[in-house]
């Protein structure tokens, strides 16, 4: 049963608002170690410099979108096993299925409550303490 406080999370979204919202939801869950990046490219560089346990990434972003970011993470040995949760703007079956092909761990549809986000994280990490 992993402790929420021990999980290191990278939040990737091009919107300041969403980054702040996700951060505040994560803090409510009890996660303390949170960094963020404004797009997939920056997110990937951040991961290389400071690995995380979990990436929560938006899909629709400039430069490198969420799907390509996921592929980059999975294709590169040091980041390959990092858990990846994709945020989708609406229930988009095609996107979710493609993300699944590329090895996404879970997805969350916006908007979401902290409780919903927690449930999605727990589906990946097991119950959090």
């Amino acid at each position: 049963m992993p402790a929420a406080a021990a999980i290191k999370v990278l939040v990737v979204d091009d919107q300041l608002t969403m980054r702040a919202l996700i951060r505040s939801a994560l803090q409510e869950i009890g996660i303390r170690d949170i960094s963020d990046a404004p797009d997939g490219e920056e997110g990937f560089k951040t991961l290389l410099a400071a690995p995380a346990h979990l990436v929560i990434s938006d899909y629709n972003m400039p430069k490198l979108d969420g799907l390509s970011f996921l592929r980059a993470v999975r294709a590169h040995e040091p980041t390959r096993k990092i858990a990846f949760i994709m945020l989708t703007g609406r229930a988009d079956k095609e996107l979710v299925q493609r993300a699944m092909q590329f090895g996404v761990n879970n997805y969350v549809t916006k908007p979401f409550s902290p409780a919903a986000l927690r449930a999605k994280i727990e589906e990946v990490f097991g119950p959090l303490t």
């Binding site: 608002t17 702040a20 505040s24 629709n60 040091p78 858990a83 229930a91 299925q97 761990n105």
Partner: protein
């Protein structure tokens, strides 16, 4: 919840930027300049607005943004052509989106009918019926029917956080000095929980053991990030007596430059193919030939690092720097008055301080400088609305949006520009029928431009309409008793009549321009900013309004002069030259007025002391100095003062804010010696003199 409220404010701020970009990008598409990236950016803007709106529960905003987004999605995937007519609808949709956002902020009401019509128009753009997936908006879960299964995190994954390993090899000297390795280990434990391992392999057998030698080595491991400095600090006072090696465990990506991130990402991007929507098709359609790899690099290179700062903090800093400038000037004056020589180290230090102060001031001013874009961006919507209300066809062309000017000036530019645009469309442009009849394109062009010219910002609003109807303007002015029926006025003078209070050319008060605000109000508000406005008009070809403003309202280069007991500052920009007149150049006209001959031209002499009511009779101009000044529209005068004290940059302090408005005075400042000096309003002084000497029935604007 405080932080939630704070995030909401961030959201609103971000939305304002997103919507401004949205409009900008749509305008680019309308002009046929956009590419695939532009369409993507448009989509993303609406998408982002919607995403945040959902989180804060702005239902109406979400619903409208959703419809808008669906239409944009079709455009992005190439199902909908970005033709002009389509983009025009989207521009209006973006206006409605702005209304929704304002309503969400609690700053307005959405016109339900307009919003509903807009929604229908947008829906009509999406190919009828092919609109499959708009319904499932809700689902937090709902993944199962798509066969999605969450993937558990693999526990055997190597701990992603790079640990830290310390190898410590105490020397015999360290023990000899009385230090104990155990104490270090305890100290290290205290920094963070660590695994400690003893390496005793170097320990010889008992008979070979030197009791005073050191044989043991410890390896200390921390699983997660610990502060390297804290660890090194532990060994600070033993130094070389206890050598340590500190290293990050593998995988150690930070100092492993092996991966070429850009190249790798480019590969991934290439390989990733179409991201859900069929972007290949789409990219062909709007051809953006640059290779993805090169693009990433150029973009990341161009990204400028920015921070958001409260405006209040910047203003506080500007105030403080203003005080610093004054203080520095006071200090310099004290030193100059004291016994110390010019070359003393104090004086030299002060010179350097002065230079630094100037530089700080310039840098701080630069922080406040902003492109006029923020004002210009609001205008396309205004133009669309006025065009709609007047039934005229208008194309707005903007130029020089990146021209920078002080933020306070920007804020006050909005109203005059708005009014001048209204005027240009309402009064300047003809109806499409009239235009066609006179051989012009039915679509009128209104140009809004910003540029820097000799230390000022110039804003031009021009139209290609009918120009000023001079006989009509003259007739109105006569009817309203503004001029005598037999007045002999030049074309310029007639054009400038429209700046007179109470003048309005619209025969019926239209609800566009006729809001009780005339060009006189525009002119006055511009003058309040230290600006000027002028007009040039060609019948049948159109009119151009030009307004020029100082770049900043905080400092001014001035010439310090004295009149009687008073010290005054004349803005340097208004001074053409200074001179000591010869008696033969002065031609008295009447008891209290005189003209000065300067290079073949005659200018009125104005005693600044008399003009401001500091004394009753003018001094002899030959005993004082004359500042040849030029006011708005090129009117010149010779301002007579007792003497010139020097030239310096002064910090402007508003007289209105601290006292009240005084005729002939623009503002005040504090001089180096701590005295308050008044800054002259040169235009007002020229105008007051002209009224008195020439006894014209009206004060013309030029």
């Amino acid at each position: 919840m405080d932080s939630f409220e704070a995030i909401k404010q961030t959201y609103f701020q971000e939305c304002d930027e997103l919507l401004a970009d949205l409009e900008q990008n749509l305008l680019m598409l309308e002009a046929g300049e956009g590419d695939g990236d532009t369409i993507n950016a448009v989509f993303r803007a609406v998408h982002s607005v919607k995403g945040g709106a959902g989180a804060f529960g702005f239902e109406a905003l979400v619903a409208f943004a959703h419809i808008f987004e669906t239409t944009l999605d079709d455009m992005r995937s190439g199902k909908l052509d970005p033709e002009q007519d389509v983009i025009k609808i989207m521009l209006r949709a973006s206006d409605v989106l702005v209304d929704h956002l304002q309503a969400a902020k609690g700053q307005g009401v959405v016109d339900e009918e307009r919003a509903a019509t807009m929604s229908r128009e947008l829906e009509a753009l999406v190919g009828g019926g092919s609109n499959e997936e708009t319904a499932p908006l809700s689902g937090e879960s709902g993944g199962d029917e798509w066969g999605f299964k969450p993937l558990m995190f693999e526990v055997d994954a190597p701990a992603p956080a790079a640990g830290l390993t310390l190898v410590m090899r105490p020397t015999a000297t360290m023990y000899a000095k009385g230090h104990d390795a155990v104490l270090f280990l305890r100290e290290l434990e205290r920094i963070a929980h660590a695994e400690i391992e003893l390496d005793a392999s170097a320990l010889p057998s008992l008979d070979a053991l030197d009791p005073e030698a050191s044989y043991l080595t410890w390896t200390v491991r921390w699983p997660a990030d610990v502060d390297e400095k804290a660890i090194r600090d532990v060994f600070d006072f033993v130094g070389d007596d206890c050598p340590i090696e500190l290293k990050r465990d593998a995988p150690a990506p930070p100092h492993q430059p092996a991966v070429d991130v850009a190249a790798m990402l480019a590969n991934i991007r290439d390989a990733a193919g179409p991201p859900v929507v069929t972007e290949e098709e789409h990219e062909e359609k709007v051809a953006s030939p640059a290779a993805p790899g090169g693009k990433i690099e150029s973009k990341s290179g161009a990204a400028a690092a920015t921070i958001r700062v409260d405006l209040e903090r910047v203003d506080r800093m500007i105030d403080l720097v203003g005080e610093l400038v004054i203080n520095q000037a006071m200090l310099a004056q004290r030193v100059a008055e004291s016994e110390t020589g010019r070359s003393s180290s104090i004086a030299m230090g002060l010179d350097e301080l002065e230079q630094l102060t100037r530089e700080i001031q310039d840098s701080v001013m630069a922080i406040r400088a902003q492109p006029v874009k923020s004002v210009f961006q609001r205008m396309p919507r205004l133009v669309r609305e006025i065009a709609g209300a007047t039934g005229k066809q208008v194309r707005l062309v903007t130029e020089g949006e990146n021209t920078e000017v002080d933020k306070t000036v920007i804020e006050r530019l909005s109203d005059p520009i708005t009014h001048m645009l209204r005027n240009a469309i309402d009064h300047g442009l003809e109806t499409p029928e009239e235009r066609s009849a006179s051989g012009k394109s039915p679509e009128g062009v209104v140009r809004l431009a910003a540029l820097h010219r000799s230390g000022r910002i110039v804003i031009e609003v021009s139209d290609d309409g009918k120009g000023i109807n001079r006989p009509r303007v003259r007739e109105i002015a006569v009817n309203k008793g503004l001029i005598q029926p037999d007045a002999n006025l030049s074309d310029d003078e007639i054009d400038n009549l429209i700046f007179l209070p109470g003048f309005s050319t619209a025969s019926a008060v239209s609800n566009i321009s006729g809001r009780g605000v005339g060009m006189d109000v525009v002119k006055r508000s511009i003058q309040g900013l230290g600006g000027r406005i002028s007009i040039a008009s060609v019948p049948g070809k159109g009119s151009t309004f030009t307004l020029s403003l100082p770049l900043t309202l905080a400092v001014l280069d001035g010439m310090v002069i004295s009149a009687g007991e008073q010290t005054l500052v004349a803005p340097l920009t208004a001074i053409v030259e200074t001179l000591r007149p010869k008696p033969q150049d002065i031609r008295p006209i009447g008891p209290n007025a005189a003209l000065l001959a300067v290079r073949g031209a005659h200018v009125p002499l104005i005693d600044v002391g008399v003009a401001l009511g500091l004394r009753d009779t003018p001094i002899d101009a030959t005993a004082g100095v004359v500042l040849l000044v030029e006011g708005e529209g090129g009117a010149r005068a010779g301002v007579v003062a007792d003497e010139i004290q020097g030239q310096r940059q002064v910090v402007i302090k508003s007289l209105e804010a601290n006292y009240q408005r005084v005729g002939g005075i623009a503002a005040a400042t504090i001089l180096g010696d701590g005295r308050v000096a008044l800054i002259l309003d040169v235009d007002a002084i020229i105008a007051s003199q002209r009224d008195r000497t020439e006894a014209k029935p009206i004060a013309l604007a030029s």
